[in-house]
């Protein structure tokens, strides 16, 4: 059993260059046993490289990679991928096209005496009983993904890595597969790390989200903490809708055109406001004017130009319906201040 003080994966100060470009720039993160960690970032931030470094398909230039406390990469020595006991689910699944489901799932356990039983077990776990002798091209996208997952789970890996697991599924299928996958992983009790560029996916799936930018983790936290207290304006903007106001902070308060907000900063600040923290009330005497409205049914996004010319957005319920051109009173319930230069 794993000691709970030891992370299932520990990555420290990993640097990886490809030619002149730095893919990983002192990357560090931990994945705790039994948890689901996602590496979230825009394309080119190095998240897939990070996954491949953990799996052993890329050798870092420097740094440390440990799995269950055992060094996988340290001081230039590297454990080859086949010896790491890491299960990988590839972006396009990489199912062996010339082997059936049982052949694919059994590939990593062929030497075990109970191979057949183990294959049956994981095939059952992913809900594909009866499909053992189908070939990959005879399966739907969602089924292929389950085979890839079953294949990765079969050898009892120490951790499971998933590279953009949902990117090949159409939107209709994605929600269901996402829920199923989470349940299967929970059931298997395996630590899992997955890579995604989809914020909603990361927030909905993970225990911890590590946001990556330029080859390093800028913030790692639980989804709610991350959304409510983003470490930088960039993280705030990447994780959801965010508008920014300029302000001046002094004596614990930041002054902006929309009022004062508590802060422990001093001097020029940028104040981040999420649309759902903005309330609007129609008021012909106010200077803020509605410039645009996007009505989605369950909610609506109303854009308002305030006195200093900045636009901010408000997420309102289905009512009230305020038409563009109307004057409104703007109230902000929550905001976060960042130093103006960050």
């Amino acid at each position: 059993m794993t000691d709970h003080a030891t992370p299932a994966i520990r990555v420290r100060d990993v640097v990886k260059r490809f030619g002149g470009t730095v893919a990983l720039d002192h990357l560090s993160f931990d994945a705790w046993p039994g948890s689901l960690l996602s590496l979230l970032g825009p394309s080119g931030c190095g998240k897939t490289t990070a996954l491949r470094v953990v799996a052993g398909f890329e050798t870092p230039d420097s740094g440390l990679v440990e799995i269950e406390g055992i060094p996988m990469f340290a001081d230039g020595g590297s454990v080859p991928p086949e010896k790491r006991r890491v299960g990988m689910v590839f972006q396009d699944y990489a199912l062996f096209p010339h082997m059936d489901v049982a052949g694919n799932v059994g590939y990593g356990v062929h030497r075990r005496p109970d191979a057949a039983r183990r294959v049956a077990e994981v095939v059952e776990l992913v809900g594909l009983r009866g499909y053992e002798h189908r070939f990959p091209h005879e399966l739907s996208g969602g089924q292929q993904q389950r085979v890839a997952l079953a294949r990765a789970l079969a050898p009892d890996p120490r951790v499971i890595l998933l590279d953009e697991p949902f990117s090949n599924l159409d939107a209709a299928l994605r929600d269901r597969v996402r829920r199923d996958l989470k349940e299967i992983l929970l059931h298997a009790g395996t630590t899992a790390v997955f890579v995604t560029h989809d914020q909603e996916e990361a927030l909905a799936m993970s225990d911890i989200v590590a946001v990556m930018q330029h080859g390093r983790v800028v913030q790692a936290a639980s989804p709610d903490v991350l959304y409510q207290s983003p470490a930088t304006p960039w993280v705030a903007g990447f994780l959801g809708d965010a508008d920014f106001l300029d302000g001046i902070a002094a004596d614990g308060l930041a002054t902006t055109p929309l009022g004062r907000f508590a802060t422990d900063l001093d001097g020029p600040v940028r104040v981040m406001i999420r649309p759902e923290s903005v309330r609007l009330t129609p008021d012909p005497h106010e200077t803020a004017v509605v410039t645009d409205r996007e009505y989605f049914g369950h909610d609506q996004i109303v854009t308002v130009r305030i006195s200093d010319g900045t636009s901010i957005r408000a997420r309102l319920g289905p009512r009230p319906v305020i038409d563009p051109g109307a004057s409104v009173a703007v109230r902000v319930t929550e905001a976060i201040c960042y130093p103006a230069l960050s």
């Binding site: 080859p80 086949e82 990489a94 062996f96 590939y107 990593g108 091209h137 294949r151």
Partner: protein, 537 residues
């Protein structure tokens, strides 16, 4: 004009009638049948001979047949193994590893293709023995004269060194777009390098490897130039010896029939080995970082490639150069092969034109008017593809002597044989070219009131012409290098470059042979270079 379609068959409603299932016009069908005539000759004749001779062996002792089968089989097996090993290694090194100057080595691994095996044989002969280019060097450093390179090992070396690029060309693209992610998946599941190779890489490579081995085996089986020059007895050499200076050609024909059967056996065996190709793999073309090589591996790899390149390119270049230089100093100028060059060019030109002309109606029938009988036409056109050229030449010779004596020893019968041998290449090119012309373009032209023939002239042909030109160039090159059929069928005195190289080399006139060989290589590599570097379609 009849309203109901001929034959009483009901035409499908015109709206549902698919392009490609239109009824073939009579004139086109006639042209197609005419075009296929040369291709029917060799097979038909060999079948007739088989039936005529019944169970007899045309006076050839069984013991002799066995000897030939063993000597031919041994050479074929040894060459196939060696060429496949070398070609696969060069393909792997130049596509998958971090080898310095990969691109250059990849190019160098395909260039030996331009050297026909009989020129390779000439190189081996001109390098060794008394007065050989290499012998001069070994003599100078006190090792004495090299023995003349002849027999099994010489034939094996010639056929391996100058055919392995076919393997490289077939295997390299598969390796280049093979799914690296599958290899990673296997290793991530704990597979060792060995198991990964056996279970993932090899199954992907198998169709290409098997096709490459088939090609090498067929080339070796049907090679005449190299084995005859290097004095190694195989079926082809025996057929030529049987035929020469005799009036009764039936023993030679019988041996040819046996050779054709052997070729068919190899083809059938390959079909079974190849098995089901990996279909439905979506994993194609993700670019991959090459496998890093250790210092030791790098030295070994570079050493191997250098050795192969020196043997397959350096040796012919220097040996031929040496003999041409020696010949020039003895008053045998390289310009002395001008007439041979013109004749080879003429033969190539006529054959390329005739082959494309034959391929055009067949392409239209097989693509625009597909039916069961168009499938048969296509099969017949391809049937000569794997026949040894010596057997084809012999069949045409017999046909000329027995049925159309007027054509005996004329360019007509020679060009007909070329068409039979190289129609598959011309047809392939014409079909590809036609597939790139949308039927809608032709229909638009017809709809504007232009007749079918004028439509072909104004629309289809101009659009096809780049593809047809490429096909013609390939046929031209093949004809320039063709030896055995040319040797049998040429008009008296019609010495082409290939014939000159072979006859001069047989008489140990290496200076003359080398001059012709250098000209042949120069003339044939220019169009080849254009073809290879052309943008792929």
């Amino acid at each position: 004009m009849a309203v109901a379609p001929a034959g009483g068959r009901l035409a499908p409603p015109s709206g549902r009638m698919a392009v490609g299932h239109r009824k073939t016009p009579r004139s086109l069908a006639f042209l197609g049948l005419l075009a296929i005539v040369p291709s029917v000759v060799p097979i038909a004749l060999l079948v007739v001979v088989g039936v005529e001779s019944g169970a007899t062996t045309a006076g050839i002792p069984i013991r002799r047949l066995l000897e030939l089968a063993i000597s031919t089989g041994a050479l074929t097996l040894a060459t196939t193994i060696a060429a496949t090993a070398i070609g696969t290694t060069t393909a792997w090194l130049t596509t998958r590893t971090a080898l310095p100057a990969r691109k250059m080595w990849a190019t160098l691994s395909t260039i030996p293709l331009v050297i026909p095996s009989y020129v390779g044989a000439l190189t081996l002969l001109g390098a060794s023995g008394n007065g050989g280019a290499l012998s001069r060097i070994t003599d100078a450093i006190g090792l004495g004269t090299l023995p003349s390179f002849r027999g099994f090992w010489a034939a094996w070396a010639a056929l391996t060194l100058w055919n392995y690029p076919f393997v490289h060309l077939l295997v390299a693209p598969v390796l280049r777009r093979s799914a690296v992610v599958l290899e990673e998946a296997a290793r991530g599941l704990g597979a060792s390098r060995g198991r990964m190779f056996a279970t993932i890489v090899l199954p992907q490579l198998r169709p290409a490897l098997s096709a490459a081995a088939l090609l090498i085996a067929l080339y070796t089986l049907s090679d005449f130039g190299a084995v005859s020059l290097l004095g190694y007895e195989t079926f082809t050499k025996a057929i030529y010896a049987q035929f020469r200076g005799r009036i009764d050609v039936s023993p030679a024909l019988f041996l040819s029939a046996v050779l054709v059967v052997l070729a068919l056996v190899i083809i059938v065996a390959e079909r079974r080995i190849r098995g089901r190709a990996i279909l439905h793999s979506r994993h194609t073309g993700e670019p991959t970082r090459p496998i890093p090589l250790s210092r030791r591996a790098k030295v070994l790899a570079l050493g191997f490639l250098t050795l192969v390149t020196l043997a397959a390119l350096g040796l012919p270049a220097s040996v031929l150069g040496y003999w041409v230089w020696r010949g020039a100093s003895q008053g045998i100028p390289i310009a002395g092969v001008g007439a041979e060059t013109v004749r080879a060019g003429l033969a190539g030109f006529l054959a390329a034109g005739a082959t494309i002309a034959a391929a055009l109606p067949l392409a239209f029938i097989t693509i625009r008017h597909r039916s069961r009988w168009s499938g048969w036409l296509e099969n017949i056109a391809w049937s000569t593809y794997s026949l040894p050229h010596l057997a084809v030449g012999l069949a045409f010779l017999v046909v000329a002597i027995r049925f159309v004596p007027v054509t005996y020893q004329t360019l007509v019968i020679l060009v007909a044989a070329y068409v039979a041998m190289f129609l598959p290449q011309g047809l392939g090119a014409a079909q590809t070219a036609l597939r790139h012309v949308q039927p809608a373009l032709e229909e638009a032209s017809r709809g504007l009131g232009v007749s079918p023939i004028a439509t072909f002239r104004k629309i289809t042909f101009p659009l096809m012409s780049p593809g047809l030109a490429a096909g013609a160039a390939i046929v031209f090159l093949s004809v320039m290098k063709e030896l055995p059929a040319t040797l049998l069928l040429r008009p008296t005195g019609f010495e082409t470059l290939a014939v000159r190289i072979w006859s001069a080399a047989s008489e140990s006139l290496y200076a003359r042979a080398s001059a012709a060989a250098l000209v042949l290589l120069a003339v044939s590599s220019v169009p080849l270079y254009v073809l290879v570097t052309r943008e792929p379609q």
